[in-house]
């Protein structure tokens, strides 16, 4: 396309302005995290204080809460992924009575907000003595992730060439083997995208762990940060350092696998 040199340089100005708008808050909190905690602080390197991260880590007991977050994420991701692959395989490659209505039932779950289920979940699971356990925090998130995962994996299985399945079936492969030794290996990009999205949503979730573990036995890292904020109102540098720590795992993953994040969040949103 032919455009003027003026227009092109304007474009660069616009790019830079909006990139700065997106980055400014992130840079601000990073710089705040590196500020001295008090005016007589020592141990700075070139006026920056990376020791704040270590202090926030110990003071907020983040080793413990990061471990909880990792446990919850691992359970949610693995269970939801397995269930979604199986259900998506059924919806995407098999014909059976009621498949249409059942699929719509799963689609419904994409629209139900956490706010609508969290109240009875708490009171019913308390009745069963399950609040303050891993299950109370993980199971509702597994259910939400399955709604998206089934929709996502079905879309993948529908695009897999039928000839591939036919050839394998003629060779005597059972559906179970067709799934795990042919379709899943080929569909690795789709599986990776689903895995990173589920991990991000679980790691960043706030309301469910807040409600389902009132005594803090299964407090995840974002909740620990909210609590840390209440205890360190004046300690700006420490709080900023803690916030960076909580965001870091997902941000690192994003920088490594950004294509999966962007593709997943854009395509996942485009419903049929």
């Amino acid at each position: 396309m032919i455009t003027s040199r003026f227009e092109r340089s304007m474009n660069y100005v616009i790019l830079v302005v909006f990139a700065v708008f997106a980055l400014a808050p992130i840079v601000t909190i990073l710089l705040t995290a590196l500020q001295p905690q008090s005016s007589d602080a020592t141990g700075g390197v070139l006026g920056l204080y990376p020791g704040n991260f270590a202090d926030a880590w110990t003071e907020g007991d983040f080793a413990r809460y990061m471990r909880t977050s990792l446990t919850v994420s691992a359970v949610v991701v693995s269970v939801a992924l397995l269930c979604s692959i199986l259900a998506g395989y059924a919806f995407g490659t098999m014909q059976f009575c009621g498949s249409g209505p059942l699929f719509y039932l799963f689609l419904l779950g994409l629209m139900v907000p956490t706010e609508a289920i969290v109240v009875p979940l708490f009171y019913d699971l308390r009745e069963l003595g399950l609040t303050n356990t891993l299950w109370a925090v993980a199971l509702p998130q597994i259910a939400q992730s399955i709604a998206f995962g089934t929709y996502w994996m079905r879309a993948y299985f529908r695009t897999s060439p039928p000839s591939l399945i036919e050839a394998a079936t003629l060779d005597g492969a059972k559906p179970w083997r067709v799934l795990w030794s042919i379709l899943v290996p080929i569909g690795r990009p789709a599986v990776v995208t689903l895995t990173v999205l589920t991990f991000m949503w679980t790691w960043n979730e706030f309301l469910i762990p807040l409600v389902m573990s009132p005594n803090g036995a299964f407090r995840t890292a974002p909740l620990a940060l909210a609590l840390f904020k209440g205890q360190h109102v004046q300690a700006t540098a420490l709080l900023a350092a803690a916030a960076v720590l909580v965001a870091l795992p997902v941000v690192i993953l994003y920088l490594l696998l950004q294509r999966h994040f962007i593709r997943g969040m854009l395509e996942g949103a485009v419903r049929e």
């Binding site: 304007m10 909006f18 909190i29 059924a90 289920i117 509702p140 960076v244």
Partner: protein, 289 residues
């Protein structure tokens, strides 16, 4: 599939369906049931019919919460859509280098935990925070204020955080949509002597109708579901000036012992989100025909 395998699909479906039904569908139905009762979470409950829903219209506090949600929709959805459309249209006209990096950067706010975003913006909005310092540095001392302690400015300040989070998503979505428009269409329009503005309204805008529908659905839902941001930045204050429906659900169910009312707000949110999906998709489809 042959006779012996007739049940096979259901076996593959079973684990997902059981977990999904047990921990999403069943709680949703229970929520609908809860919403018809008055219950403090401990003692006996009394059936009150639609009273909790009538409260949605009559209780000034709930009305305020839904009103605040409308304001947030402007900041989470309308503003990012306007910015995203303009930005993507301009960037789509000329091939510029660094677009990939730009995408990575503007999308970043989407992957950061909302609690972290809230903590960061709280520090920016603090009385001696980055925003006031910047205003003082350019001599605009008169504009400095306690951004999160002011009855007029706190809600827009919280909303602006939403604009920051959502603009990147909308921009990337629009860029993807506009990238799919065949360049012949633009060339033909230019031969007709169309300027950038006419080109935008006659070619670009109609082509990304589907993307606009998706963007509006995603961002309006995000605005309606706002919880963490308000919980961490303002706690609904000052006064009740920044309460939102999701915050009311939490307060009523777990702090004020009004479980039925909380469930009614939750169900209302769900109905609003369903309706929104229907309406937006209907409009997008009608435009395609």
């Amino acid at each position: 599939m042959r006779g012996g395998n007739r049940h096979l699909p259901y076996l593959y479906l079973a684990p997902a369906l059981i977990l999904y039904a047990g921990f999403l569908l069943y709680p949703l139905l229970r929520s609908a049931q809860f919403s018809l009762f008055s219950w403090d979470g401990l003692g006996a409950s009394t059936f009150v019919g639609a009273a909790n829903y009538v409260d949605l219209v009559q209780d000034p506090q709930l009305r305020a919460a839904f009103g605040h949600a409308l304001v947030l929709i402007f900041f989470f959805a309308v503003l990012p859509l306007g910015i995203g459309l303009m930005l993507a249209a301009v960037l789509n006209r000329a091939k510029v280098r660094g677009l990939g990096l730009f995408r990575t950067v503007v999308f970043l706010p989407q992957v950061i935990a909302m609690v972290v975003v809230a903590v960061a913006w709280r520090q920016i909005y603090a009385p001696d925070g980055a925003l006031n310092s910047a205003l003082r540095a350019v001599g605009l001392d008169a504009l400095t204020r306690t951004w999160l302690g002011d009855y007029t400015w706190t809600l827009p300040a919280v909303g602006l955080v939403g604009t920051w989070v959502q603009t990147g998503l909308v921009t990337v979505l629009m860029l993807a949509g506009m990238g799919r428009i065949p360049s012949e269409q633009f060339e033909a329009a230019r031969l007709d002597g169309a300027g950038a503005v006419r080109e935008f309204f006659e070619i670009t805008l109609p082509s990304v109708r589907g993307e606009i529908a998706v963007a509006l659905t995603l961002t309006i839902v995000a605005a309606l579901k706002t919880f963490d941001l308000v919980y961490v930045t303002t706690g609904g204050g000052p006064g009740n000036s920044t309460t939102v429906p999701a915050y009311e659900v939490f307060q009523r169910a777990f702090r004020e012992g009004a479980v039925g009312s909380a469930a009614a707000v939750g169900i209302t949110l769900t109905v609003l989100i369903f309706g929104l999906n229907l309406v937006v998709n209907r409009i997008a489809e009608r435009g395609e025909r």
